[in-house]
């Protein structure tokens, strides 16, 4: 099965090489045949050139468009290159590539979308304030999209060929995480969760979705519902 690991990256020059080296090493250890696609979302540092020797393919956005746009670019690439599965994987080093085989196993079992949940696995170092915000995000996702998930804002996702073909993301920025659930609902995709291990570091907490950005994400979701 043709598998693509999509790694969206924006100004990750400091960690992208380590993330990709760890990813490749783990894929080899777990005997997973997969291509890696880095989507450089208009970084102003050397993210793209640093990533290039460590990845299979590199796509570069001429301007910073946001996480949602970068993921949509990666999924569009997977669609055009007829990949059977793809996994979205954060570039800041917080995800553990050992979780990829678990996601692929679920996809092979017949699920269309597999979400890596931080709340059914080990989540070292997650601040309490972030847990509250993420729980509210889950409630909003349930309210807007009719799907309960334990981690609506997770960046770790597995997609089947059907999901790759049919999911059409519109949001450009962080609200894309909730939009995935809207697409699951709209397309009637078979959805499951797996526990994932997350390494919270000062770097990843600084780079990730801020609690203060939650209001903006909520407004964007409200706007999407009016479309």
């Amino acid at each position: 099965m043709k598998t693509l690991i999509i790694v969206p990256a924006y100004n990750e020059a400091g960690v992208i090489a380590t993330t990709l080296q760890d990813l490749r090493k783990t894929l080899r250890e777990d005997e997973i045949q997969a291509d890696i696609l880095v989507v450089d979302d208009g970084s102003t540092d050397q993210t793209g050139s640093i990533a290039l020797p460590h990845t299979t393919h590199l796509l570069t956005h001429g301007r910073n468009c946001g996480l949602g746009a970068a993921l949509a670019t990666g999924i569009e690439y997977a669609k055009r290159q007829s990949y059977d599965y793809c996994v979205t994987f954060d570039s800041d080093g917080q995800h553990d590539a050992h979780d990829i085989p678990k996601a692929l196993a679920k996809l092979e079992f017949g699920y269309d979308v597999v979400i890596g949940s931080r709340f059914v696995g080990t989540h070292s170092g997650m601040p309490a304030s972030r847990r509250v915000v993420l729980f509210l995000g889950n409630l909003i996702t349930l309210l807007f999209f009719g799907i309960w998930t334990s981690d609506s804002q997770s960046g770790f996702r597995g997609l089947s060929k059907r999901a790759i073909q049919d999911i059409a993301l519109k949001s450009n920025r962080m609200e894309v995480s909730s939009e995935f659930f809207g697409e699951i609902h709209r397309l009637g995709l078979k959805f499951s969760e797996i526990p994932i291990y997350i390494r919270y570091t000062a770097y990843s907490l600084g780079k990730g979705q801020k609690n203060s950005a939650s209001a903006s994400v909520l407004l964007k979701l409200l706007y999407m519902l009016t479309q």
């Binding site: 990845t55 468009c65 746009a69 670019t73």
Partner: protein
């Protein structure tokens, strides 16, 4: 019509200026006929309200609002909210189109990495 009040003169100049901008934008091809008609209608209603304020009071009383100026303020706020929403939709659509353009360009320039 009795002598114009200073405020009526100021508002008249502003309305004529705004209407002329709409016509110029239409001539320049920036806005379509529908948008031109909408704005000319808005400014025509504004002119009526400026020169016949007692009529706005009559309409206000029919609607259960005390003063004519209140109905002008209320309806202006409602129209402004709607226009801000339209503007927001427009900007979001432009942002999405720019992202699609950037996506297509990037998909045509795939770089092969060092690892297979």
């Amino acid at each position: 019509m009795s002598l114009l009040l200073p405020v009526q003169i100021i508002l008249l100049v502003f309305v004529l200026f705004a209407a002329s901008r709409a016509v110029l934008q239409f001539r320049g091809g920036t806005i379509r006929f529908g948008a031109l008609s909408f704005w000319l209608l808005i400014w025509a209603v504004a002119l009526l309200a400026i020169f016949y304020p007692e009529e706005t009071t009559r309409i206000a009383r029919i609607l259960g609002i005390g003063r004519g100026v209140d109905i002008v303020v209320y309806s202006s706020i409602a129209i402004l909210f709607y226009l801000v929403f339209r503007l927001h939709v427009y900007l979001e659509n432009i942002r999405t189109e720019i992202s699609q353009l950037i996506r297509e360009v990037s998909l045509k320039q795939v770089k092969k990495g060092g690892k297979k």
